[in-house]
Amino acid sequence: MSVTIEIPSYLQTFVNNLETVEVEGDTIGACLHELAVKFPSVEEKLFTREHKLHSYIGIYINGEDAYPDELTKPVKGNDRILILYIIGGG
């Protein structure tokens, strides 16, 4: 069951400049974990030492906010996970 993760521009340098990565997993957390296994330097960009998502990251599943309990939300084949970093420039 393949799920697509849309990589924000901020993270693309850590995933060989890919805009999307295909992963397998039953939950958002499992999918993000697989992303971090494929691209280990992503791990600290997504997760705290306690393996929680950084507070400045939003996760969207098929365009809808997955908050709260993002990591345990189930996913199915062809779902799209979007990682959204806060931006603040003006």
Partner: protein, 231 residues
């Protein structure tokens, strides 16, 4: 005549009082188009002076303005654009101490800041004073926009819950132009009461791929800013 404007609409624009927080890359297009549309009172708040590095995106500031307070440069250009509106330049740093007095009496707050902590202050003030709030932010070729109707739609804090570890957001000048024009559009729509506002939707603009993505957001029942107010 554009449907929804006409003389009545122009009168609504003339009576409207809009505060723009930030006289930089986002604030420039927002202010220009609101002034040109005839928004009657525009308060611009910024504490900075114009620097050379601002000129790639802050199009209301010109080379001759380097070193001047931004609000002076801003006010002068806006008044030249439309002498029939009131421009209120406020050369202050937005803080917890002055935010309420700055926004009181205004119909609309436009977020044109360059940092997240002040955005959160503005969002809080918008919620506490029931003033609609139009968020915009940029980074590189990417931009975001969202409109908040306090008590009815998700606020900025429902969507953004933290701070980035680094507060540097380099910008290519055209990106705030795109987002600022979207914010100005939202402001005009709100004042006129036309169209569908960008509420409960976060618009994500990707200039590199020339793509707009709409994300659905919802009010967080435990939001530290808006959980206690109802529509």
């Amino acid at each position: 005549m554009i449907k929804g404007i006409g003389e009545d609409g122009q009168e609504k624009l003339k009576k409207a009082r809009v505060i723009i927080a930030g006289g930089g890359g986002l604030g420039s297009p927002v202010a220009m188009y609101l002034a040109a549309a005839g928004v009657g009172t525009i308060r611009i708040v910024d504490h900075d002076r114009v620097e050379l590095s601002n000129l790639n995106r802050q199009v209301l500031h010109w080379d001759k303005d380097i070193g001047r307070p931004k609000v002076d440069s801003f006010g002068e250009k806006l008044q030249q654009l439309n002498r029939n509106i009131v421009v209120e330049p406020v050369n202050e740093t937005i803080s917890e101490d002055n935010i309420s007095s700055l926004v009181r009496g205004f119909d609309l707050i436009v977020d044109a800041m360059d940092n997240l902590p002040t955005r959160y202050l503005l969002n809080r003030a918008a919620v506490d004073n029931s003033i609609p709030f139009i968020h915009g932010a940029v980074y590189g070729f990417e931009g975001r926009a969202m409109t908040v109707i306090p008590g009815k739609s998700a606020c900025l804090r429902c969507v953004y819950r933290g701070l980035m570890p680094s507060e540097k957001f380099p910008v290519i000048g055209v990106t705030p132009a795109v987002i600022g024009c979207i914010q100005a559009t939202e402001a005009i729509k709100y004042i006129l009461g036309v169209g569908r506002l960008l509420t409960d939707r976060l618009l994500v603009y990707d200039g590199l791929n020339m793509k707009f993505t709409e994300l659905t957001v919802t009010r967080d029942p435990e939001c530290e800013h808006c959980h206690q107010i109802s529509g």
